[in-house]
Symmetry: C2
Subunit: 402 residues, 2 copies
């Protein structure tokens, strides 16, 4: 029996979830592949697909794939059938956007932000901008699917909270999902920015890699991991916190976390800026460091190379522990290219056993500034189109105002 008794005309969306999920996740892009992938009969697939097509969620593209006989029609999620709201909360700005299901930006906005602002007021502001963006997006992309936030701190993904000491003072354990869901009755996701950059890099460039490590080398140092094809978060969402692994030595510098000899204190943007300042340059941020690198100042090059070796040291530990097949280096300092990369490669190949480095690639990220924003969108899309949850989406879609 159908769950939707409102008396729609035409086929209902009942049971179409599996089909939708296969299309959305790229596991099947034609009717033939749907048959294969779902194991259902052609009759059933046809019926369910028709429901999805007439609902507008799925469309037939112009594209066809050769097959030896009649070419197969390519199916795709209709990117304009819905929209998401995403926000990247940075340390100085909040970047907000409405996105379609590609995901691509439909409309966007930027807010100034201070890390001392409390969560309540900030989320109120974010919500206000979201409402404006939603009003815009609704004109052309009717269905509001969900919200996804990027935060520059460790996040307990399941609970949707900032955890542990962080730059966001007063956000600890605040129920972000709760506040946004009382205002917007849609799924809400909150995740750490580095994890989202990892997701973005994985989805876009390396969708077939199952075990990768993404390292963000910017003002701070952090990392995210894909393990067995899925984001790996650890017990509290704190996995990948490589910035505060310590290497002790006589001259171990003081870290901003209060310990001595952390990787960050030796190789992060702020640490290199500190060392450059000590040598008479003007440098405060990772961007200042890269400016000097791009001017080919020998001191900056030397320090960046040294940072590469330090980061290589900690990455080689990570390689021994998690045995990835790919390491992607991103963040502002990655713009230093080989000046950073060579030191990393040197240490990893020197320190790790041949077995672990045999099939290991170490590459630079090509991601843009807003990769966390897109990562947030990918995360949301992946989750709402997941086989187990997609039925809920269809219920909401069927119940939407027309």
């Amino acid at each position: 029996m159908g769950r939707h008794e409102q008396g729609h005309e035409g086929p209902t969306l009942d049971g179409a979830g599996g089909i939708l999920s296969l299309i959305a996740t790229g596991q099947a892009s034609s009717r033939a592949e749907l048959l294969q992938a779902s194991g259902l009969s052609r009759v059933t697939v046809t019926q369910r697909l028709n429901a999805l097509l007439s609902s507008g969620l799925v469309r037939e593209t112009e594209e066809t794939l050769p097959s030896g006989g009649r070419p197969t029609r390519v199916l795709a999620i209709n990117a304009a059938s819905g929209f998401l709201l995403v926000a990247n909360i940075g340390e100085t700005h909040i970047h907000l956007a409405a996105m379609d299901l590609t995901p691509a930006i439909i409309a966007q906005a930027t807010l100034p932000f201070s890390v001392t602002s409390g969560p309540e007021a900030t989320l109120q502001q974010v919500g206000d901008v979201f409402e404006a963006l939603a009003a815009e997006a609704e004109k052309t992309h009717g269905f509001f699917l969900g919200i996804s936030l990027s935060l520059p701190t460790p996040v307990d993904f399941k609970r949707g909270c900032v955890v542990g000491p962080s730059v966001l003072n007063g956000w600890d354990d605040f129920d972000i999902i709760g506040q946004l869901q009382t205002r917007f009755a849609v799924p809400v996701y909150v995740e750490n920015d580095v994890n989202l950059m990892t997701i973005c890099e994985h989805k876009r460039r390396f969708p077939t890699v199952d075990d990768m490590l993404f390292v963000k080398v910017g003002t701070g140092i952090g990392s995210g991991m894909i393990a067995g094809g899925r984001m790996f978060r650890g017990a509290q969402g704190a996995a990948g916190d490589i910035g505060h692994i310590q290497f002790l030595s006589d001259d171990a510098p003081l870290c901003r976390c209060g310990k001595f000899g952390c990787v960050e204190a030796r190789a992060a943007g702020w640490a290199i800026a500190r060392d450059l300042s000590a040598r008479g340059f003007h440098a405060e941020t990772a961007r200042d460091v890269i400016d000097l690198v791009e001017q080919r100042k020998p001191e900056a090059l030397m320090l960046l190379r040294a940072a590469g070796r330090t980061i290589g040291e900690v990455i080689s530990d990570a390689v021994s522990i998690i045995n990835p097949s790919l390491i992607v280096i991103g963040g502002t300092l990655a713009r230093g290219g080989d000046f950073l990369l060579s030191g990393i490669r040197e240490l990893v190949y020197q320190r790790c056993l041949p077995l672990a480095t045999r099939d290991l690639s170490i590459v630079l990220s090509t991601a843009q500034e807003d990769s966390a924003l897109f990562g947030a969108a990918y995360l949301l899309l992946e989750d709402i189109f997941a086989p187990l949850k997609v039925d809920r989406l269809l219920e909401r879609f069927a119940a939407r105002p027309l």
Copy 2:
């Protein structure tokens, strides 16, 4: 339509896989729970369960669970309805056993072994003993379910091969699964011993922990990880190789891998034995070290404590990277108890951020000598009873000679 056309009497096992899997994995132990967990109707569950009960694979126990009303009958896999063959190939001996589905040992045997034996001859020998064990087990536990091997080297689990340089000379890339499957037409699994000890520890003592690290401190040092509830193997099955993470210092000792300053060269059984020998004691193996520790020789205690701090150093790196909620210390040196543990705890709590250690437990393993053997059995059982594969098992079960 049924896939089995042999004309069994009574209900067929068709589609009973999901039910069987739920019972076997402990996700449901009563009819009521099966209804809940499977989402099927009572009629269907009854029908499928009857098929499993009459096949003998599942049985009703005497036990009941209170429910407020009529108590629910507890269901269980009939441990005597089948058997496995497992073997733990160590550096000097091979321990082989036939096990029921508990898993518990039905019959066992031991073979001498040298690491210089090639794979072909060794597996021939193993196969011979397996045949004898199978003949024994078949008398009381009719159905032969599969084979699972433990090896003291890195293993590419998917391919079923030894990978990389290891103590097993000549085993590299040899198709172990292939050779055994031509002789025994059953599923064959091959896995590294530390990973199997990890599985055993997880299954028996901490089944609800999703993210744990098991560290084996014996003659060598290795580790296994459970991430998100599943064994984590990395890209090539080399994850958890913490023994050869390096800490450089002026007095960095030479490791048996050829590098300087590896954790193993500082803290493994062989390294402590080396240091004790240098001080005039007779010690070669981890067991010799523990003997001296149990005699409370100050030098042995001091070296074990120091080893604990070294291991704590590398574990703190692992904690920062993977953020587990539990660390279990096993292997021969774990018998040193707090003499080893205190140093580990000291370094982990000193080096890791409070967020990561807030809910972190560090405990000693209680596993016995043969935990790898049981781990091999758990691995096999988990896999053949996995939802996606259990149907194959039922096919074989239905086709068995009666």
